[in-house]
């Protein structure tokens, strides 16, 4: 009564797993950039918006940061069809993760917004800049370097933890592919050991790339190891 490891069976599935890894990266990138745009909008509304807009942005952040991403994706995938909206599993996962990421990024960016000195903002106002011009020409260049590490870390979290949530509704990203293959060849231990290795490689590649971008763009002394 014992178990014999057969890693050859798992390695034979490497091409399928790598297809899943590509989808994981794609989902991670799209989620991050979509979330960043929402984050920028949310931070702007919370900083410069009127009472109603600030309250709405606040409710959005509270709701999406206090409920699991999985619940949000389930709602989109299983709940919306009951009212006639039928999106495919990739779209539901992307929208769910983007809205979730947007809430966290709203707070990250808002922290950056309020770190800009009041005198700079008053000077921009005096020069007749609109709110959007202030954000674009004064705030973003100032805060980019300061919030870059937080954004880079957040991207790695989305890539590794966020995207795998899609596996629950059948998205064939890395974890989803591994589950589908494992339920056919029953080599769970071997498959998920290999998948863990692929995730480590993905995060190392992402971390190194972001560190290099940080050094080049902001002269940040980013260390990966």
């Amino acid at each position: 009564m014992n178990y014999t490891f057969q890693f050859g069976v798992a390695f034979a599935q490497l091409p399928e797993l790598l297809k899943g890894a590509v989808l994981t990266f794609e989902l991670g990138l799209l989620t991050f950039w979509g979330g960043a745009l929402i984050g920028l909008l949310g931070a702007s509304l919370k900083t410069f918006g009127g009472a109603v807009l600030r309250r709405l942005a606040g409710i959005y952040v509270i709701f999406f940061t206090n409920t699991p991403a999985l619940i949000q994706i389930y709602f989109l995938y299983f709940g919306l069809p009951e009212v006639g909206i039928l999106w495919d599993k990739f779209t539901c996962t992307l929208i769910g993760l983007t809205l979730n990421a947007g809430a966290y990024l709203t707070e990250i960016m808002r922290a950056g917004f309020i770190s800009v000195r009041r005198t700079e903002m008053e000077a921009a106002e005096t020069l007749g800049m609109s709110v959007w011009q202030q954000i674009r020409f004064v705030i973003v260049p100032h805060i980019a370097k300061a919030i870059y590490p937080a954004l880079a870390n957040f991207f790695v979290v989305i890539l590794v933890m966020g995207t795998s949530v899609g596996a629950v509704i059948g998205v064939d990203e890395l974890t989803g592919q591994a589950i589908n293959i494992s339920t056919e060849n029953y080599r769970w231990l071997e498959m998920f050991t290999l998948v863990a290795g692929i995730y480590v490689v993905l995060t190392l590649v992402a971390s190194l790339s972001l560190a290099l971008v940080g050094r080049w763009a902001f002269r940040v002394k980013a260390k990966v190891f």
């Binding site: 014992n2 299983f78 629950v168 769970w188």
Partner: protein, 269 residues
Amino acid sequence: MFKRMALSCLALVAALAASFTVVEAKSLDDIIKDGVIRIGINPNFPPNSSRGSGGDWEGFDIDVGNKIAESLGVKVEWVPTETPQRVPFLVADKIDISLGALTRSVERAKLIEYTAPLHTEVMAVLMTEKLDIKSWKELDDSKYTLANMRGNWSVDYLKKELPNSKVELVDTIADTVRLVAQGRADAIVENIDFFMKHTKNYPDVKWKVLPEPIDTGWCAIGVQRGNYPLRDLLNIALYSMHSSNFVNESWEKWYGAPMLVKVTPNPYF
């Protein structure tokens, strides 16, 4: 830097390797000594196994499990086990035996032991009236999407028989039916007896069944690899349950109709 990283990785791999201890099955003697047998059942699989209105487990698998425990003189610990978890739970010794319509397949037999058959399952097509087909073979077209569960033996079978159709995989029977009800998939090609109860959740959907039987699967009880004493005991218990007509009567009680293809009791195994 890289030397430090390499050493850390080696240490991690060594630690992981050390933690991969072999998980041996609980022996028949231990089950009898402890007075409890852990039976894996699907938690939402009416009429095989589900919670009744009082919260107790009920269904065909529950009747069979109770009969097995009675013959052993032990109590039952029911372990909720979704379809994709049946084989992994046996391998990891989280359950002593697996029910849940565990169809015999070579892939599974590489990892677990099977008893003689407990019951059969006959595949057919469950779809809605939106689909206008007369035979299951017409589903072999990329314009059709089939709903199925991860870990079902039919996933592999349909890849060979209907290679052109698309497949959407989910984790539970309820979600499989929901896929078709919501229009994400066109049909379920499986033992549709297992899915019919869930269609009642969608009274507005016009369900349709193609009665043409496709294939017969043989479902048995799974035990961990090498647990021969338990497997042999179960075979003897199964012979007794079949020859006394307990299995057929229980099936008809829960499914409302006799098993389409009955299991012939055989004293030799």
